[in-house]
Amino acid sequence: MNIFVCIRQVPDTTTRIKLREDGNGIDETDIQWIISPHDELAIEEALQLRDRQPGSTVTVLSAGPERVVESLRMALAMGADSAVRLDLPGDADSVVNSQALAAAIDKQGTADVVFVGKEAIDNGAGAVGTMLAVKLGFPCINVVNGIDYGAGSVTCRRDVGGGNIEIIETTLPAVISAQVGLNEPRYATALNIIKAKKKPIDTLSTDELGISEADCKTLLKNFELPPPKQPCHLIEGSPAEQATELVRVLAEDIQAI
């Protein structure tokens, strides 16, 4: 099987976001970059599937600037067979990112299955996988936390919120977006991290992909940090008094209960 994984490089979850001076993006100085957590699940699923299907390969794709090579190397260290960077700025929108990924998959041949994370934790749109599927003419099953593989089809457990699960069957090829619970992503060993440093990572330019950054339909600008909060109003008294006062605040001041 030709298995593809699309990953996004994002700031580590512990990052304190600082804004660029022009306000149209974040200051990337000192940011620790990681593979977006749901994308690690996508990589793990691809590796497990490959190992059950002799002759399969896992190709990892990531759109972004030079820095994303580091995350692609991490995917190689986890066990992916090859990795390709699609040379786009970090702020390209989901329209152009999905165009780039579709073009890259076409260039590499045919896909039997494409795994993505349910969303990247930077923009959190959760849109690229679905848009990619529509471009490729594949069905797309989103927010999947369990997969049974059949012959030419898969049955997915889909998390539809509120604790409810849908069981959906789809033909392959398909795009599947991974949700927590799908698997436990492996850690790359130190040895494999070192080995991955020597592996080649191809780069495809926008010209080679036949796309243009100018096709972005949206831009994000005027970033703002959350406004500073007023100091917390601490409720004093005995525990019973505190509880009574808090319930009064909820009922009378906020009118929430």
């Binding site: 749901h38 797309c140 927590v180 972005c216 994000l220 525990p239």
Partner: protein, 320 residues
């Protein structure tokens, strides 16, 4: 400007998140709504009373099972006939799945999870969270393409229905091709409590609860006020709660009216997931816990003591 609202529904009732869309500052826009499903004709009346001038019904047994594929295909056929400038839907699990399908299929621009949206004189102004709420950004559209926009639940308050209003209702039919995806089964596991992404009030517990059983303290209080139960990542990792309750950058990002954090210290990735809550309450033994920097109201105290008293105080107040 013509805005088309995609109405979401369940068991014959309009989703609250859909009703809220009519409460956004929609300016002088012409509001249309579309409902897809089986037996959905009765939904036209409430949509009219909320302010839809025209309602289009896409009624088909093939849409009863509502996969993203069938819904996307059906609406993808209907929307061009209506030629809206904006397609608006709630950022619910269904809306999140549907919006990119429509945007890609209709060559539209896509803006998801907006927490501010103003429509005025043909101008659309949007703000959305980035980095799970660690910052927000304005969405600028680079051309005049159709705009597909999803709005985070609880961004606006649903207007009261105006019984004097009614919509012009039309049925439209669609031709669905053979489907690649088939919905086999829906397993309901949610129980009676609301989901954290749609609840008005969330009571969240952290790892300091110490066990899955001790979360009954949180549940009891949540149930007295009709709240959802949330969890920090640490409590999920410790196995006290299922992942679906996790609030934070790698869990659910929420914006309830009131967020009550009990024994949650406030790791940065947790704060990112709940900081857009309208009112934040923190209960923690440690007065220096980061959660207090974000809280509007706080109690420095032991949740094991305070939270049961809260449940009691609510019962006393309501005479229960």
């Amino acid at each position: 400007m013509k805005i088309l609202i995609i109405a979401e529904h369940k068991n014959g009732v309009l989703a609250e998140a859909t009703r809220e869309l009519f409460g956004l500052p929609l300016g002088q826009a012409e509001i249309h709504a579309v409902v897809a499903g089986e037996g959905i004709a009765p939904l036209a009346e409430p949509l009219g009373q909320l302010g839809a001038a025209k309602v289009r019904l896409v009624d088909s047994p093939a849409l009863a099972g509502g996969t993203g594929e069938s819904l996307g295909q059906a609406l993808g056929q209907v929307i061009p006939q209506l030629a809206p400038d904006v397609v608006l839907t709630a950022h619910t699990p269904q809306g999140r799945d549907l919006a990119p399908r429509l945007a890609e299929g209709l060559d539209a621009a896509l803006a998801t999870d907006c927490i501010q949206a103003t429509f005025n004189d043909g101008q659309v102004t949007l703000r959305r969270p980035v980095y799970a709420g660690k910052a927000t950004a304005e969405v600028e559209f680079t051309d005049d393409s159709l705009k597909v926009i999803t709005i985070r639940p609880r961004t606006a308050k649903a207007p009261e229905p105006d019984t004097a209003l009614s919509a012009e209702v039309t049925s439209v039919s669609v031709q669905l091709s053979e489907q690649k995806t088939v919905l086999k089964e829906i397993i309901a596991g949610g129980g009676e409590r609301p989901d954290v992404t749609e609840a008005a009030i969330i009571v969240t517990g952290g790892r300091s609860l110490g066990s899955a059983e001790n979360f009954s303290i949180i549940e009891n209080f949540a149930d007295t006020i009709g709240a959802a139960v949330g969890s920090s990542r640490a409590a999920v990792d410790a196995g006290y709660r299922p992942y679906r309750d996790q609030v934070g950058q790698t869990g659910k990002v929420v914006s309830p009216q009131v967020y009550i954090a009990c024994g949650v210290s406030g790791a940065i990735q947790h704060l990112a997931g709940m900081r857009t809550s309208k009112h934040i309450v923190a209960i923690n033994t440690d007065p220096d816990a980061p959660i207090f920097q974000l809280a509007d109201h706080g109690i420095v105290g032991d949740l094991f003591e305070v939270v049961p008293l809260l449940a009691e105080a609510v019962k006393n107040r309501t005479g229960g």
